[in-house]
């Protein structure tokens, strides 16, 4: 790594810390304004007044909210994200369990969606107004407009319940669920490392459908934006000049137009990835897979403040890191960006 790139990285650290602090403050403030009573949410309606008072005290809810925030920040600084009120487990343990599942799903979806989306966008610009172009437009429209929740249920019904082509829900079948030592939390990696061929194949079979469903969203997004960016380049003078000098359409597209939008393409990929990380909740729900999106959503319904804050901070940190790395990649790859 050059000194220049290291300098760029270091410059992002204070910004990242400031963003996380602001995120924590806003999340904490919004949760404090919420009409939901976390103590009542936890103990239910029948509990006695003395239990209610005790639980409020144990949760620290009887202190003014600046004091609650101060306590929370002090704990976070020491690496303690607290205990989830809705799972009864340390938030850190919960996140270590659910976040790798989301990364696995979102990364594979991005790879499938990214490769197919970029290919489709290039092909549609290479053969405008043809079949591929029409197909790309339909795909990008469908990927952006069909709800993944509905698509997931239909896919489960057809490919799992009727055709039996894929496995059902969860990350592994029950026969393998407790034989794999989940050390890293990434089921493919752990199954492969443990030499469990059957478990690896089973994990892949469980991943195909949710990955394809989530990739359909990525595919639609990437195809639409990259195609539009390439079409925007098509009318520029350097393209006319290259064509006038005798370069073929494919060569112009790949050697001249595509490099000019690489910064934009990197940004699109990064934004899509962050959306997938956060937005996999519906796919996780339909396919009964653990994940950060579902963890956060359930925590929100339960007014589970430690879980909400822990998950929000983690997702926020991911956004900041991915954005920072994307900025760096764009600067390093495109000399026009200062």
């Amino acid at each position: 790594m050059s000194w220049n790139s290291l300098r760029l990285l270091l410059r992002g650290v204070p910004m990242m810390l400031a963003t996380l602090c602001a995120l924590m403050l806003v999340t904490f403030g919004l949760s404090s304004l919420s009409p939901i009573d976390p103590a009542l949410q936890l103990i239910g309606d029948h509990a006695s007044a003395s239990t209610y008072t005790q639980v409020r005290h144990e949760l620290g809810l009887d202190a003014p909210w600046p004091r609650q925030l101060e306590r929370y920040v002090a704990a976070v600084v020491h690496g303690d994200l607290g205990v989830s009120r809705s799972t009864g487990q340390p938030v850190r343990d919960d996140l270590e369990r659910v976040f790798p599942a989301t990364i696995e799903l979102a990364t594979l979806a991005l790879i499938v969606g990214g490769v197919c989306g970029l290919g489709l966008a290039l092909a549609s610009v290479r053969y405008p107004r043809g079949f591929i172009d029409g197909f790309a437009r339909v795909i990008s429209l469908a990927g952006n407009s069909i709800p993944v929740f509905w698509l997931g249920l239909i896919a489960l019904y057809v490919f799992y319940a009727r055709l039996h082509w894929v496995r059902g829900t969860g990350r592994l079948s029950d026969a393998f669920e407790y034989t794999v030592d989940m050390r890293s939390g990434f089921v493919l990696l752990d199954a492969w490392r443990g030499g469990e061929r059957g478990a690896l194949s089973d994990a892949l079979a469980h991943l195909i459908m949710p990955v394809l469903i989530l990739a359909s969203y990525a595919l639609g997004n990437i195809t639409r934006l990259i195609r539009a960016a390439l079409l925007g380049e098509a009318g520029k003078e350097y393209v006319t000049l290259a064509r006038a000098k005798g370069a073929g359409r494919t060569r112009v597209l790949l050697r001249h137009m595509a490099p000019n939008i690489r910064g934009f393409a990197l940004t699109v990929l990064a934004l899509t990835y962050t959306n997938l990380l956060e937005g996999a909740v519906l796919v996780e729900t339909v396919f009964a897979r653990p994940g950060i999106g579902r963890y956060l959503t359930t925590a929100l319904f339960d007014a589970d403040m430690p879980a909400i804050l822990g998950a929000t901070l983690l997702i926020g940190a991911c956004f900041v890191v991915i954005n920072g790395l994307t900025d760096l990649a764009v600067r390093l790859s495109d000399p026009r960006v200062a």
């Binding site: 239910g44 092909a123 249920l153 009964a288």
Partner: protein, 533 residues
């Protein structure tokens, strides 16, 4: 120059082919659950704790029946009858019970069940003071006096004393509730952290003597139970029971249809209807003790009409009971108009009220309320409450009562009810233990000692009913006791700020080869020990 072009063109195609090929290769064989492993698809999102002194959610209550035993438990076929469980027999005295423990009873750890375990379990539950502690508090037990109320007589006998005005029958039934589960003191004490009495450990582990023991609990994913072959309740027929968290009802239906789950819970009317014609799946229906009712807050000074008995009476004729139960909610409920659910001893089964707008208008006119009444109705912001509220709004409007629906999150609604700031609210009630007093003590008891019962929340002053409810709780003769509860129900049904309307039914889908699953009327009565397939 042509190489990258070819590779880029081939990229998506190759990727697509790879995915389809992988799908076909790895997905062409279906997984089959072994015959000794039973998988249920249900929502475990509600599960907070598997410690019987803390867990008070449906999923944990149902699990406690499989994992723990109490001194006495309701007979599963006739819940009105008490069966010995960890106690072989008992004798009653003046506000005391002496239990003889089964001499051969052991926990899943192999430790014998001792009087010390009984004392520790009950005392621990009171001192931890978690959500269900109020059930044991009803005996007059507090963290300061509970130890003196539990006495070891000898190595196999334990005495239980109480100070509250309750008869033996009520106390025995209170001891059947999940919070009275007996835990293995030696195991729990070994996992004590600071002063938590093993609570953190027991949230995800077990130390009981029930037919199953917890092998592994992964929050919001799965709860895996193994057979406890040494259980005093008898060894279960299954080796392993997996309760799998499947949050979406549509997916639960597909899992049981395909055979990856043997049982699916929490299905909606759409899923039940879709499975009704399946040959591979049978739908079992069990009555549930959950009662749905409308409550008027008579203590709200902003709307004096709420305290007018004529409004309560008119409201009874302004609900389309049958339309809600049979059409709107399609078989998930039955019409039920008394506070004791069908299936509880002494429950009134008659349904004297139906939708009669003309009669309601006459009642309101006689009471001088014909000019129109406006009421804020608080409801949970989840199905089926919004549908029920809209039906009420429509029929009450015909009678001249304008209902303003205020949907809110459940804990927000509970906050309003506890603070008595709402005007009217649609709520549900689940009894805490299998005894009429659990419900009568809420609906028809508003003592002046500061106990905030449901009647207190409705602002309903009822000295006469208080005496009757107290007498019923103390009545030693079973038949006389039941007749007293029938009388209390009739009074509440006739005139009270509650309009009791519906009783829930539970629909469960099981594979056709599954036998022996049974579910009782109360929340914790889910029995897996006789299940086979």
């Amino acid at each position: 120059m042509s190489r990258p072009t070819r590779s880029l063109r081939a990229g998506p195609l190759a990727a697509g082919l790879m995915v389809v090929a992988t799908a076909l290769l790895v997905g062409c064989t279906r997984s089959v659950n072994p015959p000794d492993v039973f998988v249920t698809a249900q929502s475990l999102d509600d599960l907070v704790s598997l410690d019987p002194a803390e867990g008070f959610e449906l999923s944990s209550l149902q699990t406690f029946t499989s994992v723990y035993q109490r001194l006495v438990q309701p007979d599963r076929d006739d819940p009105a009858r008490l069966d010995p469980s960890l106690a072989a027999r008992w004798t009653a005295g003046d506000r005391m019970l002496t239990f003889d423990l089964r001499e051969d009873a052991v926990f899943s750890s192999g430790n014998p069940v001792r009087p010390e375990d009984v004392i520790y379990s009950l005392s621990r539950a009171v001192k931890l003071n978690r959500a269900p502690a109020f059930i044991l508090n009803q005996l007059g037990w507090t963290s300061t006096n509970v130890d003196a109320s539990l006495v070891k007589v000898d190595d196999h006998r334990v005495e239980i004393h109480w100070t509250a005005e309750l008869g033996t029958a009520v106390v025995l039934n209170i001891l059947t509730s999940p919070i009275a589960s007996i835990v293995d003191e030696q195991v729990v004490a070994a996992h004590r952290q600071e002063s938590d009495e093993g609570n953190r450990w027991l949230r995800s582990h077990s130390a009981g003597s029930g037919p199953f023991k917890i092998r592994r609990y992964v929050p919001r994913e799965a709860l895996v139970l193994d057979a406890n072959r040494s259980s005093p309740a008898g060894a279960p027929r299954l080796d392993t029971l997996i309760l799998k968290n499947v949050p979406d009802a549509g997916t639960r239906r597909l899992l049981v249809e395909v055979g990856d789950a043997d049982l699916a819970r929490d299905l909606g009317p759409d899923q039940i209807a879709a499975l009704a014609t399946s040959r591979a799946v049978k739908v079992l229906e069990f009555p549930s003790a959950t009662i749905h009712y409308l409550l008027f807050n008579t203590a709200n000074p902003g709307n004096p009409a709420l305290a007018n008995p004529a409004l309560w009476e008119a409201a009874r004729w302004l609900i389309d009971y049958r339309g809600i139960a049979e059409k709107l909610l399609r078989g998930q409920f039955i019409v039920h108009q008394a506070f004791l659910a069908q299936g509880f001893p002494g429950a009134l089964d008659d349904t004297p009220y139906h939708l009669d707008v003309a009669r309601a208008r006459r009642i309101l006119a006689r009471a001088g309320l014909a000019a129109g009444v406006r009421i804020r109705l608080s409801v949970f912001n989840q199905p089926p409450y919004a549908d029920i509220a809209q039906s009420l709004q429509a029929t009450f409007a015909q009678g001249g009562i304008a209902l303003d629906i205020v949907p809110a999150e459940a804990s927000e609604v509970y906050s309003q009810v506890r603070a008595r700031s709402e005007e009217a609210v649609w709520l549900y009630w689940i009894p805490d233990y299998f005894d009429a007093h659990s419900t009568a003590g809420a609906f028809a008891f508003n003592p002046e000692d500061g106990t905030k019962t449901l009647a207190w929340r409705a602002g309903w002053q009822i000295p006469g009913l208080n005496a009757l409810t107290r007498a019923a709780a103390l009545e030693p003769d079973p038949e006389t006791r039941l007749s007293k509860y029938r009388e209390i129900q009739a009074q509440v049904q006739r005139s009270s700020p509650y309009v009791i309307a519906l009783q829930a039914r539970t629909g469960i889908a099981v594979r056709s080869e599954v036998n022996g699953y049974f579910q009782g009327v109360d929340a914790d009565m889910a029995y897996y020990d006789r299940v086979s397939k």
